[in-house]
């Protein structure tokens, strides 16, 4: 009995944060299920999956899901390649700290402060990308601008941990730089890339703040994201739809993360075999 309790000693330390986590997020998260199956948040009549079907069927939700997915599919590889490339350049060429700081500093700039710039740079008559079909590219640009630095730091940290002797050994074997990159540097950085990937997902949802600041709650349909849908549902009191949409969203993210981890595990295994 005593031993059993001892095992849970660590829990004491987790407790303060756990209480808040439980009360603020976990319990009400499941509490929200009831709402998603109710007629409305105010009328607790059970309606089964009606709300889920309604959400899935609504063209606004479909549009939002499409835009969010499109954004992720384009932005995700783009930022990882860009930040990896920049990190590699800075690492290999020993580029000055000031240059690095320039790339990193946009992390610190609040959305509201640069919204003015983006409105003026992409939203003036004659050159109005924000209202055109290419608005998503502006959003991707903003995303890259803001978050490349974040990933850059992580990659640089990862690179500084690489064991130089492995690379040197490869050089002696006569490998050229691309080969070294392909067979040594990238595999060694896989754990770092996983972290970068997670951070990128987290940050990719924050680009909503910028869109909200620039175009308000009903932006150009090309950049209408899931968060717009959710926020608008919240403000129009339609909680039953909001919760249903939120659970669908969560499920999708869960699936993606699962896939991501699976791929990572497979890749790590492959490298291990080699």
């Amino acid at each position: 009995m005593f031993n059993k309790l001892k095992k849970y000693k660590g829990f004491k330390f987790v407790l303060p944060s756990f209480i808040g986590f439980l009360l603020l997020y976990i319990v009400p998260f499941f509490g929200g299920f009831k709402v998603s199956f109710s007629k409305t948040a105010f009328n607790k009549g059970f309606v089964g999956f009606t709300n889920y079907l309604y959400v899935l069927d609504s063209s606004a939700f479909q549009l939002a899901a499409k835009n969010t997915a499109l954004f992720m599919i384009i932005a995700f590889p783009l930022i990882i390649v860009l930040s990896f490339f920049l990190a590699l350049c800075i690492y290999e060429l020993n580029i000055s700290k000031v240059i690095k700081l320039f790339i990193v500093i946009p992390i610190a700039i609040p959305s509201a402060a640069v919204a003015g710039f983006f409105k003026r740079a992409f939203g003036v008559t004659g050159w109005n990308l924000l209202d055109s079909e290419y608005a998503l590219f502006v959003v991707i640009l903003i995303f890259l601008w803001k978050n490349t630095g974040y990933n850059l730091i992580i990659y640089l940290a990862g690179m500084s941990q690489i064991n130089k002797s492995a690379i040197e050994a490869a050089s002696i074997d006569g490998a050229n730089y691309l080969e070294k990159l392909r067979y040594i540097i990238i595999p060694l950085l896989t754990p770092t890339t996983v972290i970068v990937g997670i951070i990128t997902i987290i940050n990719s949802f924050k680009v909503f703040k910028d869109i909200l600041m620039i175009q308000g709650r009903y932006p150009n349909p090309k950049i209408y994201m899931l968060q717009h849908y959710l926020t608008n549902k919240y403000l129009s009191l339609k909680y039953h739809h909001l919760t249903a949409a939120a659970y669908i969203f969560t499920l999708v993210i869960l699936a993606i993360v699962f896939l991501f981890l699976l791929m990572d595990r497979k890749y790590a295994k492959k490298v291990g075999e080699k």
Binding site: V14, I95, I109, F117, Q227, Y239, T250
Partner: protein
């Protein structure tokens, strides 16, 4: 080849700097030039007219500034305190189920705020009705979710994992309890991680928008970000100066602690 790459990187870095430079340049323009429909990059004449009119005519700006300071600093405080305790346990005092719990913490990070909007709402509502503490439309509605957001736990746990177990074992042999180990051994080593946490949490909450839009109703209680956006629509002439003043604390804190970011974000293999 190397030179070309070098120049290329420099060019990219200048592009990254451009939006900030533009904002600063616009903040130094005279009023008339800013509100004109033409987009200008270089001030006709450099003056501090905009800053002057914020200080003189828009004193409420500083009230909102203080709102943001209050919200952000309290959240950082909570993040550090709660984060260190939990992260230590997750990294070095494994208990049954700790890994699964930690996965839950990480998963929360992956969700956009809007998904937890309703959970937060339901909780606040319960507290209000049961305990009679006013939460809606107070800064508490912003501070509580911020404090208990699992970001701090995540960052610190990854860092603490990198600290060799031998140090702890040695201390244990000397008869130290876990609390002592945490305070005497772990805490002094955490400096880069804590700096990292402070910077990232500061940036995130200095830029707090979504929560405020949902839970704050009284205009006076809004954080600066929301207020600034109103200025752009209402009084564009002073927007850029307001923006620069808003950026300054963020840049100061960032450049002060930037050197720790690299160390703080060495997140150790996740396996």
């Amino acid at each position: 080849m190397k030179r070309i790459v070098y120049i290329f990187v420099v060019l990219i870095s200048l592009m990254f700097l451009f939006p900030i430079a533009f904002t600063v340049a616009n903040s130094l323009m005279p009023y008339g030039q800013v509100i004109s429909n033409k987009v200008n990059f270089i001030p006709n004449q450099v003056n501090l007219q905009q800053y002057y009119s914020i200080v003189i005519n828009k004193t409420e700006y500083f009230k909102f500034f203080l709102n943001s300071v209050k919200i952000t600093s309290l959240i950082i405080f909570g993040q550090i305190f709660l984060g260190i305790l939990a992260a230590f346990a997750f990294a070095k005092m494994k208990f049954p189920g700790s890994d699964i719990l930690f996965m839950g913490y990480v998963f929360l990070l992956l969700l956009p705020y809007q998904v937890v909007l309703v959970p937060n709402f339901l909780f606040f509502d319960k507290v209000e009705t049961l305990l009679n503490i006013k939460i809606f439309d107070t800064h508490l509605a912003l501070i509580l979710p911020g404090m208990f957001y699992s970001f701090g736990v995540f960052i610190l746990r990854q860092f603490i994992r990198g600290i060799p177990d031998e140090l702890i074992e040695a201390a244990k042999i000397d008869g130290a309890g876990y609390a002592t180990i945490l305070i005497r051994i772990i805490l002094p080593m955490l400096k880069p991680a804590i700096f990292t946490l402070v910077i990232l949490t500061f940036i995130d909450n200095w830029n707090l928008i979504d929560q405020a839009v949902a839970f704050i109703e009284t205009p006076e209680k809004m954080p600066l970000s929301v207020f600034l956006n109103d200025i752009y629509d209402g009084d564009k002439g002073v927007f850029f100066a307001g923006a620069v003043l808003y950026i300054i604390p963020a840049i100061l804190i960032f450049t002060k602690g930037e050197k720790y970011l690299k160390e703080g974000l060495i997140l150790g293999g996740d396996k």
